[in-house]
């Protein structure tokens, strides 16, 4: 058959298939029981309350411990088994090391700063990378819906990322923010550092508004750095959640399932393949840029 007929059939057949599904299975009406925000709810598994401070062990704590353990464990494991003739894992880790040392740290800070801050930036990159990645592995953490496995009640598998809670990126951002201001004050003294916020060559009266804008932009960096990581991961999880079944359940339209599931798989691959690594890279690179900019000489 010629090409046009083939394309036409290729588009028409799935459409007719989906419409047939709708006709056969119908719509169950809107579902108000399922609440997507419960996926990100944190129940206290081991309650630890100090006054009004909630330090309980919950799902996010588990994921943080996992991410930290994987960061430390994976690098130690590879470091202890390094050989002259590297295998594939060692080569991959070596290229990641080179990325962190030369591209992220070295490309954005002068040599002395890069050497001093590389361990921090490397750890930051790896911790955020692992934290994002394990968010796409289903783990049995849903204690509300348990399923039966050979007689034992096991919590249902669910996707969740520690970085999908604003607290984790915000904490990392605050560490970075205080670090780079501290570095700037250490390099230039408090007055010198504040003076460096106004670019050289600005005449007297213009310096005032420019300084105010710089102050605002430094404070906005807290929000932008944390929300960038948080919203990327949260939006990714929400997309996967809604596409791979949430939309179908909420609308009660089982016929929509095959279409949204395909999109859900595509989003999943996109998130795992690109967004998780990219966001870790961006966070680390911006940290290096802020640190480098805080101690840089005027130009």
């Amino acid at each position: 058959m010629n090409k046009r007929v083939a394309i036409g059939l290729g588009v028409l057949t799935p459409m007719i298939f989906l419409i047939l599904l709708y006709v056969i299975f119908g719509s169950e009406g809107q579902n108000t029981e399922y609440k997507p925000q419960n996926e990100f709810q944190l129940d206290d598994w081991i309650p630890i309350h100090l006054g009004s401070l909630n330090l309980s062990v919950n799902k996010a704590v588990l994921y943080l411990v996992l991410a930290a353990g994987l960061t430390i464990g994976s690098m130690l494991y590879v470091a202890r088994r390094m050989k002259q003739r590297p295998n594939r894992v060692q080569t991959a880790v070596e290229s990641a090391y080179q990325l962190m040392r030369d591209n992220i740290a070295g490309g954005n800070m002068d040599a002395a700063m890069a050497k001093k801050w590389f361990p921090f930036i490397g750890t930051l990159f790896l911790f955020i990378w692992w934290s994002n990645m394990i968010g796409y592995i289903p783990l049995p953490t849903n204690t509300h819906e348990k399923f039966d496995l050979f007689g034992a009640k096991i919590p249902s598998f669910a996707l969740y990322a520690a970085t999908a809670n604003i607290a984790v990126p915000l904490t990392l951002t605050l560490v970075v923010w205080f670090a780079y201001h501290f570095e700037g004050i250490r390099a230039k003294g408090p007055i010198g550092y504040l003076k460096s916020w106004v670019p050289a060559g600005v005449e007297g009266p213009a310096a005032g508004p420019i300084f105010v804008i710089e102050v605002i932009s430094h404070f906005v960096r807290i929000i932008s750095l944390s929300v960038r990581l948080f919203a990327n991961i949260l939006a990714g999880h929400l997309l996967i959640l809604f596409m791979a079944g949430g939309l179908v359940v909420l609308l009660g339209l089982a016929a929509l399932g095959p279409l949204t599931l395909l999109m859900g798989v595509a989003f999943f691959l996109f998130e795992v393949g690109l967004v998780a690594t990219l966001q870790a890279f961006i966070f680390a690179t911006l940290t290096a840029i802020y640190l480098g900019g805080a101690v840089a000489e005027e130009h």
Binding site: G107, V227, A231, N232, A235, L278, F281
Partner: protein, 93 residues
């Protein structure tokens, strides 16, 4: 359109259903319009990358590294708009 009309609109949301509807519009319009700018921005970045790699193919790796940085920073603006929409939706009760 003077500022009094905003007051009139705010009073119009006196019952639950209208308030819900207006919140939904706020989220949809806010988050939706917020994707216009970054859409242009991301396209511009990659267009420039294509141009510069065409001019100097040997610079491809360096430019690719900057490309990903620029892409992520521009993409983040979408999520700021999304967060503002969510704030309007959930914190306006």
């Amino acid at each position: 359109m003077d500022l009094d009309s905003i007051g009139i609109l705010a009073q119009a949301a006196s019952d639950e259903a209208t308030a819900k509807g207006l919140r939904a519009i706020a989220l949809g319009v806010g988050a939706g319009l917020g994707t216009v700018g970054p859409g242009v921005g991301v396209g511009y970045i990659f267009g420039k990358v294509i141009e510069s790699v065409t001019r100097q193919p040997e610079m491809r790796d360096e430019i690719t590294s900057i490309q990903w940085l620029g892409f992520a920073l521009t993409e983040a603006i979408v999520f700021y708009a999304f967060i503002f929409g969510l704030i309007a939706f959930f914190l306006s009760a």
